[in-house]
Structures are given as structure tokens and as C-alpha cells.
């Protein structure tokens, strides 16, 4: 083809220009959108650290384990969390969060793993779809609705039937003393938390168990194992890291759960040995007191609790995700 005379096709193509600039701009825009995820984390971190500065300045690290203030007016120990006198200690909230979350794990984990085993290994195929759909639906129900149900159904149930039963038969452990029988308290919070984290732990456990290759199951069966032995040795043993991850993820959700816990935990910033007494959790105190907080120190202390909650849940979730990823090998998991 003589260079002096371009073909019509070549003339057409060269007149259209190229899309190099548009491609680069689009690529850059998409990268910025992707980096926004990091931006969100940094935004939250920086804003919370900024606003909690006052509380940090006043109390330092002791904020998290200050004992109750001495109330000089009444000559007795005051409370841990005293907005009027400016004494703020996060200890009762950390205690409440830990107690309610760990108790809920105790209830939820055996049930969730049992459900997962049933659904993956034992369930007839026709039931599997509907049951999985129901579990997914229940994971999507908002916290406020669980809280609504808990206040009107669960708490009276606990008050009338379960708590007296616990006091009567387990009162000797000193863990079940009910001085103020309202049905609210750590137990109520633990039960509703267990109901809420069950679907998450169960569906993640199912995912992890399904990721175990069939060859493992077949090998164990070929050696003459019963079905439970096949599940135990072929599936659970291989998936146990992921199951631990699923449990930790459930813990992470329980630690940060706000609305349902706020409605049933009793909202008393105290530390009590009895599981039936009222308490308070980190998220619930923020939800309750923040919009009415008057002093800057009060707000700053609440934000510092929020910052602690943020860091703790990030760490817990990161560990959980790493463990689950180790078993499922980083295939894009469905958004939970």
C-alpha cells in the first residue's frame, strides 16, 4: 500500500482518534472508588480520634478500668459512670459487652454448628433450599425488629418462666440472683444476641464445610467410618479453622450489636456478678446517652467508647475473615 495514499478505512480510523485519555481517566476514577474503602476506614478513625481527644486527655488509658469515684457528698462509692460529676469509667460497659457476647456464643455456637451439620450432610435435598432461604432471611432482619420482639415477647417469657427456673435450680452458683425481676439483663441480651448471630455462624460454617473436597469424605467412608465419624474426621477436622473463623465473626457481630441489646439489657452502668441483673454494653450506652449528653467530656467519653468498639470489631472481624479465607481460599464470599 503506497504511503502517500491512505485507504478510506485508514483515514476513517485515524480521524477517530484514540481513547487513551478516556481509558486512563476511567481507570483512575475506578481506582479512586476502590480506594474509597480505605478512605472510609481512615475517615472513621480520624474523626473518632479527634473527638475523643478530650476524654483521652482527661483520663488516659485508665478510662478503660477506672474504679468508681468516691462520692464525697454521700460518703460512699459513687458509680463508674457519672455524667454529673464528670467521672467516666468504661469498665461496666466492657464487662457488659463481654458477658452478653460470650454468653450468647455459648448458646449460639452448638446450635449453629448442629444446624450446619444437618444442612450440609444430613438434610434431604428438598428441604435444603427452603431452610437455607429461611436462614438467609433471618440474617437480614434488622436489629430493631429483633429488639421489638425481645421487649414484648422474650422479656416477659424470661421474667415469668425462665428466670425463676434459673434462680431455683442454678442459684447455688451465685450467678443467678434476681433481686429485681424485670426479665431484663445480661441473660435477655445474651438470648436475643444468640438468635441474631445464629444465622451468620451457621451459614458461614456451611460455606466452610461445603468447601471441603468430597474426596476427603469418600476416603474416610472407604475406611469404614460411620456418618458421624465421616463428618468429624473428613469434614470438621479440615474445616475447623474456618469454623473458628465463623464463630469469631459471630462474636464480632455480637460485640457491636446495638439496638436489640439496648432494649433488653437494662441500661445500668454497674458491674454485677449475677447474670440476671441489669447491665449495659458499649454500644447501648452510646445509643442511649449520646443525643442527650450535655457536657463535652460526656460526649467525648462516649466517642472514645465508640473508638474502642471500632478498633475491637475491626480486629475481631479481620481475624475471622482471615481464618475463613484460609479454608475457602479467598473465593469472593457472599456479602454477609
Amino acid at each position: 500500500m503506497p504511503r502517500s495514499e491512505d485507504s478510506a478505512v485508514r483515514k476513517f480510523l485515524m480521524s477517530r482518534g484514540n481513547s487513551a485519555f478516556a481509558d486512563r481517566a476511567f481507570h483512575a476514577l475506578m481506582v479512586i472508588c476502590g480506594l474509597s474503602i480505605f478512605g472510609i476506614v481512615l475517615l472513621i478513625l480520624s474523626e473518632l480520634m479527634l473527638r475523643s481527644g478530650l476524654a483521652w486527655h482527661n483520663f488516659g488509658l485508665h478510662f478503660f478500668f477506672l474504679p468508681p469515684a468516691h462520692d464525697s457528698n454521700l460518703g460512699q462509692t459513687g458509680s463508674y459512670w457519672d455524667p454529673v460529676n464528670g467521672h467516666f469509667s468504661a469498665l461496666p460497659f466492657i464487662y457488659g459487652t463481654l458477658v452478653s457476647s460470650l454468653l450468647s456464643l455459648l448458646i449460639a455456637v452448638p446450635l449453629a454448628i448442629g444446624l450446619a451439620i444437618f444442612l450440609t450432610e444430613m438434610c434431604p435435598k428438598v428441604l435444603r433450599g427452603p431452610l437455607a432461604f429461611v436462614t438467609e432471611l433471618l440474617a437480614a432482619i434488622p436489629s430493631i425488629i429483633y429488639g421489638l420482639w425481645a421487649v414484648f415477647v422474650l422479656v416477659p417469657l424470661l421474667r415469668e418462666y425462665v428466670n425463676p427456673f434459673l434462680v431455683k435450680y442454678l442459684g447455688w452458683t451465685k450467678l443467678f440472683v434476681d433481686d429485681n425481676p424485670t426479665g431484663l439483663g445480661y441473660v435477655a441480651a445474651a438470648v436475643i444476641l444468640a438468635i441474631m448471630i445464629l444465622p451468620i455462624i451457621s451459614s458461614l460454617t456451611r460455606e466452610v464445610m461445603t468447601a471441603v473436597p468430597h474426596s476427603q469424605r469418600e476416603a474416610v467412608l472407604a475406611l469404614g467410618a460411620t456418618r458421624w465419624e465421616m463428618i468429624r474426621m473428613g469434614v470438621l477436622r479440615n474445616a475447623r479453622i474456618g469454623i473458628v473463623g465463623a464463630v469469631i465473626l459471630g462474636l464480632g457481630r455480637a460485640l457491636g450489636e446495638t439496638m436489640a441489646v439496648t432494649m433488653v439489657i437494662g441500661n445500668t452502668p454497674e458491674i454485677s456478678k449475677s447474670l440476671l441483673s441489669n447491665g449495659s454494653s458499649m454500644a447501648s450506652v452510646i445509643a442511649n446517652e449520646f443525643s442527650e449528653a450535655v457536657s463535652d467530656l460526656h460526649r467525648s467519653s462516649l466517642i472514645e467508647i465508640g473508638l474502642a468498639l471500632f478498633i475491637v470489631t475491626i480486629i475481631v472481624n479481620a481475624i475471622a475473615r482471615l481464618l475463613v479465607w484460609a479454608v475457602t481460599r479467598g473465593t469472593p464470599a457472599s456479602a454477609h
Partner: protein, 287 residues
């Protein structure tokens, strides 16, 4: 022979016992959960009427009234949240699926998005309070919308990525082979093919933030009156449910149940739609 038969009997018995326990666990889980669901449906249906959707709340102690301002308020908040969350989220999803596949940066972003999905929503509310309410000096629907929007971004990003990865490479290659610029190929071909999935992913995120209460407590704050102003405090459905449920008035409890039913209906529709689209597959839904 004696020990062998004991051992095999023991193993068989353990197997049966564990099977029974697993079935027991399933029943213990599914039955109460369905009971909760049915109870909510019944209580909500009892209280739901047309006035709920059309009237504003009446003063405490009086009967009647509805949650019209809360429904509209939720719509405003979700509109602002979607305007922030959906474009950035889909953009992040496009980056993860199209440009960043296999890179370390994409893995880090994906991991961070998953971790962010587990952060309690009240923390997002605190960040929005600090970022917008404090400098502005007043509560506003805008700050609530921002809090909900930043919650939507990681969720939308992950589901968009998942849907985009389902588009077969042959389509991308065909588009590029025809001479389309890369950005055109991604937007008009790949995203368009995956759009039913992406839209339902957004719907899922939408339904999720529609039920969020905690971030709104000190950003949108709530408003007893009809308001659509983004610069003023605004009412939202879950917020109203919380206030009514924790109050002492029976009429308000009734309204709370009705509101809960509306929320649940939204969730059920969204989850069912997602499952339907996912089962149909991406290509079959292509326009």
C-alpha cells in the same frame, strides 16, 4: 470378638446420637425463628391500616395516627444514602472485577470491605456526627444520609464485584475485538450484562440500611412533624419504631408493630429478588 462388637455398637450408637442432636439443633433453631417471624406478621397485620401510611403521628396518649412522616423521612434518607453509596460502591466493584483482578491492592480492598461490613453501624453514625453535625452545628437528614451511604459502599462493592465476575470473558473479548475502547467495553457491555445482578445487589444493601437505627439516633435525630428538608432533622421508620417500642403508650406499640411489618416486607422482597436473579444467572438476565 467381644470388644469388637462393643466398639462397633458404640460407634453406631454415637452416630445415631449425634444425628439426633443435629436434628434437635435444627428444630431448636428453625421453629423459634419461624415463630418469631409469624408473630411479627400477625402483630403487624393487626395494626396495619391505610391511616398508617397517610397520617402523621398524633400526640402521646391519643389513638390513631400513622407514620407517614417516618416513611417519607426514610425515603429521603435512603435517597441521599443511595446517591452516595451506589455510584462509589459500583465503581469500587468495577475496579475489583475489571482492573484489579489478581493485584495485591484489590485483595486488600476486598478484605477491608468485608471487615467494614462487620463494623457496628453506630460507629458510622458517630463518624457522620463528628464530620457533619459538629461543624454544621445542627442535626440534619444529610448527615444521616451520609452515615447510611458510607455503610452501603462496602456492601455494594462486594456484590457488584461478584456479579461482574460472573460475566464470561468472551463477552469482554468480543467487545474489545470490535474496537470498543476499554471504558466503553466495561460500562456498556460488561456492566450492562451484569446489571440485573448489580441492581439487586444494590437493593440488598438498600434493604439493609433501610432497617438501620443506630446511626440515625444522633445524625437525623428524628422529627415529629412532616419534613423533607435535608438540612433539618428528619424522622425515619426504624427510628420511630424504636421510640415507640420503648415508650409506655399502647397505641404507639401498635404503630411500632405495623412499622416493623413494613420493614420486614421490604427485606423479604429484596432477599427473594436477589435469590431469584442469582438463580437465573447473569447472562439470561441480560437486556
Amino acid at each position: 470378638m467381644g470388644t469388637t462388637s462393643f466398639r462397633s455398637g458404640f460407634r453406631a450408637a454415637t452416630d445415631r446420637a449425634v444425628s439426633g442432636l443435629a436434628i434437635l439443633a435444627t428444630v431448636l433453631v428453625i421453629v423459634p425463628l419461624i415463630a418469631i417471624f409469624v408473630y411479627l406478621l400477625i402483630m403487624g397485620a393487626r395494626s396495619l391500616n391505610l391511616a398508617f401510611f397517610l397520617q402523621n403521628p398524633v400526640p402521646e396518649g391519643e389513638s390513631g395516627g400513622g407514620m407517614a412522616n417516618a416513611i417519607v423521612g426514610s425515603a429521603v434518607l435512603l435517597g441521599i444514602a443511595s446517591a452516595i453509596g451506589v455510584p462509589i460502591g459500583i465503581g469500587a466493584g468495577i475496579y475489583l472485577a475489571e482492573f484489579g483482578r489478581g493485584t495485591k491492592l484489590a485483595t486488600a480492598i476486598r478484605f477491608t470491605a468485608d471487615v467494614l461490613n462487620g463494623v457496628p453501624s453506630i460507629v458510622m453514625g458517630l463518624a457522620a456526627y463528628s464530620l457533619i453535625v459538629v461543624p454544621q452545628g445542627h442535626f440534619s437528614a444529610f448527615s444521616g444520609g451520609v452515615a447510611l451511604g458510607i455503610m452501603m459502599i462496602p456492601t455494594v462493592a462486594r456484590t457488584s464485584e461478584e456479579m461482574l465476575l460472573m460475566v464470561p470473558n468472551t463477552i469482554r473479548e468480543a467487545a474489545l475485538g470490535l474496537g470498543l475502547p476499554n471504558w466503553r467495553s466495561v460500562l456498556s457491555i460488561t456492566v450492562k450484562t451484569a446489571s440485573p445482578g448489580i441492581i439487586t445487589g444494590c437493593m440488598l444493601a438498600f434493604a439493609r440500611v433501610a432497617g438501620e437505627t443506630a446511626p440515625l439516633i444522633f445524625t437525623a435525630l428524628g422529627n415529629s412533624f412532616w419534613s423533607t428538608d435535608p438540612n433539618r432533622p428528619i424522622e425515619a421508620l426504624p427510628l420511630q419504631i424504636w421510640v415507640y417500642a420503648t415508650g409506655p403508650y399502647e397505641d404507639q406499640h401498635r404503630l411500632a408493630w405495623a412499622g416493623a411489618l413494613v420493614l420486614i416486607a421490604l427485606i423479604v422482597i429484596a432477599v427473594s429478588l436477589v435469590r431469584y436473579v442469582a438463580s437465573r444467572g447473569v447472562l439470561k438476565g441480560a437486556s
